[in-house]
């Protein structure tokens, strides 16, 4: 039985006091404990950004990779060892800017990992440029006259590309955040949780107050059925994305499950690598 202590370590995060990412860190640790996962059975793969630093603060097998490529690395980890619980984490720039392609393809492939984006609508680590989720018109270091571009909608993108679990959370509501991460991890297939995680240093528009005021909780909305893609698409429009809760959920075969017979099975798990005569014959038969 793992405890929170097992997941913690002696390193002080280098985040600004008040940064939303602290909650996400706590929530990942708590969810893992709640799900009774042993630290050594978990791999936490992250991208580059303030948010990406999170993998260095959880005592599991963790890897801080490249800007935008964390999801690709995480898919490799999971496919090579389906027994591991794999979480991938990063920022909005990391996931929806440079890394958006892998997001779409991981979703349609339905690799069984949980992807958590700390969406602060800004580039934190590089000190305050606009991000792909910065609202149009927002003034940032790289848009002094206001962001001229319409932001990307990560939830609709996830829907369109085929993610089988899509939810949104808020750093200011730890309880729901933990619950959603738990649900995501329990979900068989690709789960995506977009977390509004305010950057207190560079984003003075999308603040804790702003979110507290504007977010509606879908989980509490009567009649909302998170299994209808069309309904999900429309609710995002309707709420202008300002909601928390499970947006969509629908189990289908994971990529590991739909591998050709033989692949990704016990032989992989048992690491049977040594070459025997039987294997040799299989290898050479076509060439003699």
């Amino acid at each position: 039985m793992s405890t929170l202590k097992d997941y913690r370590m002696d390193i002080k995060p280098n985040w600004c006091p008040g940064c939303g990412d602290f909650s996400v860190l706590a929530a990942i640790q708590k969810s893992a404990v709640n799900l009774n996962i042993e630290p050594e059975d978990m791999a936490l793969i992250s991208g580059i950004g303030c948010s990406g630093r999170i993998s260095g603060y959880v005592n599991v097998y963790s890897m801080h990779t490249m800007h935008g490529r964390a999801l690709a690395v995480a898919q490799g980890v999971k496919l090579a060892n389906p027994d591991l619980h794999v979480i991938c984490a990063g920022g909005d720039g990391d996931g929806f800017g440079i890394g958006l392609n892998h997001f779409a393809h991981a979703g349609r492939r339905n690799v069984d990992i949980t992807y958590i984006v700390m969406d602060n609508q800004i580039y934190g680590l590089t000190k305050g440029q606009m991000s792909p989720t910065s609202p149009q018109g927002m003034e940032t270091k790289s848009s002094p006259g206001g962001n001229p571009e319409q932001p990307i909608n990560p939830l609709q993108m996830a829907l369109a590309s085929g993610s089988s679990f899509i939810a949104q959370a808020f750093s200011g509501d730890l309880k729901q955040l933990v619950s959603l991460i738990e649900q995501g991890m329990k979900h068989k297939g690709f789960s995506f949780i977009n977390v509004f995680s305010p950057c207190v240093t560079f984003n003075k528009i999308l603040t804790y107050e702003f979110f507290k005021k504007n977010l509606v909780n879908l989980d509490e909305r009567e009649g909302y059925e998170p299994s209808n893609r069309g309904m999900a698409f429309n609710i995002v429009e309707e709420t202008s994305s300002m909601f928390t809760g499970v947006l969509y959920k629908n189990e289908r075969k994971t990529l590991t499950e739909s591998q050709p017979k033989g692949s990704g099975t016990d032989m992989l798990r048992q690491g049977q690598f040594e070459l025997n005569e039987n294997m040799k014959d299989k290898l050479i038969s076509r060439f003699i």
Binding site: M9, D10, I11, E38, P39, E40, D41, A43, I45, S55, G56, N59, V60, Y61, S62, M63, H64, T65, M66, G68, R69, A72, V73, A74, Q75, G76, V77, K78, L79, A80, N81, D83, L84, N101, H102, H105, L255, Q259, P260, K261, G262, S263, G264, D266, M267, L268, G271, Q272, F273, L275, N276, E277, M279, K280, K282, L283, I284, R286, F287, I288
Partner: protein
């Protein structure tokens, strides 16, 4: 004859492939050494294509011959392309239907040119497409092979199309065979082979069986000429070995997935060509920085950019050596024959895990796509060295919260733990880090970590880092990759002429075996570095390492064609 060359040419889709398959299978079983190269035009469908097969009774061969003994021409282009390469006492058989006999070029002296009823005879059996088997029969008869050894293989080849078709194809073969025997005009018998049964396969296929034999159980790749075959073969064969192969969305992803799989403890690889290597540069740096094993095959092709995708070049050396930003340890191995390609994959996986860094297999288009005879895979030559690991027991004993994954050690290599191992949890980051893997900007630590990473590979060796042949007092020929065959034959020709020529073929391109090569260069009067690229990339590497390199000359070929022995001889003669 001790050896001869057969070319079969025609439009794509005329069955040239099957002739090649059957012919090479039988000859392989007879123990002949073979070298085959398929020339394509760049069109997807249609256009000329030919299969150039060199057959040797004894000597091993690693390059096409420059002379052709038998040309089977289903189209006119075959004649135009090869007429000037026909040996004296050679024969051209051209199809009486598809090649108009008026207006043909005049055969050089000693070359017999015969209108052959390939299609006609096949049509007699009801199906003109069997002309390829008719041609096979003629080839077999010209070489005085016994027809019976072909029957079985033809039957096997066509069995999937039903007994009837299979039998008809044998009959077509017999018709061709009889045609030559009846005419009795010519024969080019081959001396029986002295070797035993061999494999016949391409470099790409060799790398696949080398990888699977070495325990590679994950690959992520993205299609690209000429590396796609590796991905496709891995996808085909992997299920039997229990691993997983993914066709990723791009090369950024394929290399990153491979790194992830390797982090998870699996032997994993990716394969690509030029543009893919460019896209992988960032991840290659990560693999070096976080000390995760990674095997990358680069089947070099004509560059730059989209370049000459179906043509030969060896111009990615600088990209492999220094293409990622910053500095990392890396190993670059260059197989020069298909046989080596198998075992080099084994070495690559072993070195990647031993030294915990990216290992490149610097293949090239000719090595990847030419087919060569090779000894049958020998399991005893496949070794599994999985590098420094820590057992669960040791970990339990240490029982630390944070495992020192990047501990400083005498040989600069830190023992690895694998996800799933208790007490082995650690952080791996591309940011500079301390021994537990966590980021630090401490100056002293940085220095030590850089030295650790860069120094660890200094002891890398393949055993044979340079393949040396001949004396080389007069002339030393240096190269890497598939040029070996051409260089070797040029060398032999020089030796016959009384010139003390030798060759030094570089098998380990990085870390560079400078000391060994320096001795050889110092001994030689003239040194020529032979490469399929413009700038002389290998020559420039050598120059970095050899304090006095005024002697070194470059022989570059960059028109997309591989070297022929005569290219080298001509260049050297002009020098001397």
């Amino acid at each position: 004859m001790e050896e001869l060359t057969i070319v079969i040419g025609g439009e794509q889709g005329e069955g040239i492939e099957s002739v090649g398959e059957i012919l090479t299978k039988v000859l392989s079983q007879m123990g002949f050494s073979l070298y085959g190269f398929r020339n394509f035009s760049s069109r997807i469908k249609g256009g000329h294509s030919d299969f150039n097969l060199r057959i040797s009774s004894g000597k091993e061969i690693y390059v096409n011959a420059e002379k052709v003994n038998i040309l089977v021409a289903f189209d006119r282009a075959s004649i135009d392309l090869y007429i000037n390469q026909m040996d004296k006492n050679s024969i051209i058989l051209y199809d009486s239907k598809s090649v108009k006999s008026d207006n043909l070029p005049i055969a050089p002296k000693g070359v017999i040119m015969i209108e052959a009823p390939f299609q006609e005879l096949a049509s007699e059996l009801g199906s003109p497409i069997m002309k390829n088997m008719v041609a096979l029969g003629m080839i077999c008869a010209l070489n005085n092979h016994s027809a019976s050894s072909f029957h079985k293989v033809i039957q096997e080849q066509f069995l999937k199309k039903g007994m009837k078709i299979s039998q008809l194809n044998v009959e077509a073969f017999e018709k061709g065979y009889a045609f030559i025997k009846e005419k009795n005009l010519f024969s080019i018998p081959l001396v029986p082979a002295i070797n035993s049964n061999k494999m016949f396969l391409s470099g790409n296929e060799a790398m696949v069986i080398g990888a699977l034999a070495s325990g590679c159980r994950f690959m992520a790749g993205y299609p690209i000429t000429p590396a796609s075959e590796i991905l496709e073969n891995m996808i085909n064969m992997m299920p039997e070995f229990g691993g997983v192969v993914v066709q990723a969305e791009d090369e950024l992803s394929s290399v990153a997935m491979s790194i992830g799989a390797s982090f998870a403890g699996t032997r994993s690889m990716t394969a690509t060509s030029g543009p893919g290597i460019s896209l992988m540069q960032e991840a290659i740096g990560l693999s070096g920085a976080i000390e995760i094993p990674l095997v990358i095959i680069d089947t070099q092709r004509g560059g730059p950019s989209s370049g000459l995708a179906t043509k030969m070049e060896q111009s990615d050396l600088t990209a492999m050596l220094g293409g990622t930003h910053g500095e990392i340890p890396r190993i670059i191995i260059s197989p020069s024959t298909v046989q080596e390609a198998i075992y080099d994959m084994n070495t690559a996986f072993n070195l990647a895990e031993k030294y915990q860094c990216p290992v490149f297999i610097a293949a090239d288009l000719v090595l990847s796509t030419s087919k060569q005879s090779a000894e049958i895979l020998d399991p005893l030559r496949i070794e599994m060295e999985r590098g420094k690991r820590v057992s669960d027991e040791e970990l339990a004993e240490q029982g630390k919260a944070l495992y020192d994954r990047f501990a400083f050690t005498d040989d600069h290599i830190s023992p690895r733990t694998i996800p799933g191992q208790k007490f082995g949890t650690h952080h791996a980051t591309g940011i500079e880090h301390g021994q537990t893997g966590h980021p630090t900007e401490d100056y002293e630590n940085r220095k030590k970590m850089m030295i650790k990473r860069m120094k660890k590979i200094e002891t890398v060796t393949l055993g044979e880092d340079i393949k040396a042949e001949g004396e080389g007092e007069d002339l030393l020929l240096i190269g890497f990759g598939s040029t070996y065959g051409a260089i070797r034959e040029a060398c032999e020709a020089f030796n016959k002429d009384g010139i003390k020529a030798g060759l030094a073929h570089i098998r380990l391109l990085h870390p560079f075996p400078a000391d060994q090569l320096e001795g050889m260069i110092n001994k030689a009067r003239q040194v020529i570095v032979i490469e399929n690229n413009y700038t002389g990339q290998l020559a420039d590497v050598i120059k970095q390492h050899i304090p006095d390199h005024s002697k070194i000359q470059k022989l570059s070929k960059f028109d997309g064609r591989p070297f022929a022995p005569s290219d080298i001889r001509k260049f050297c003669k002009e020098l001397v």
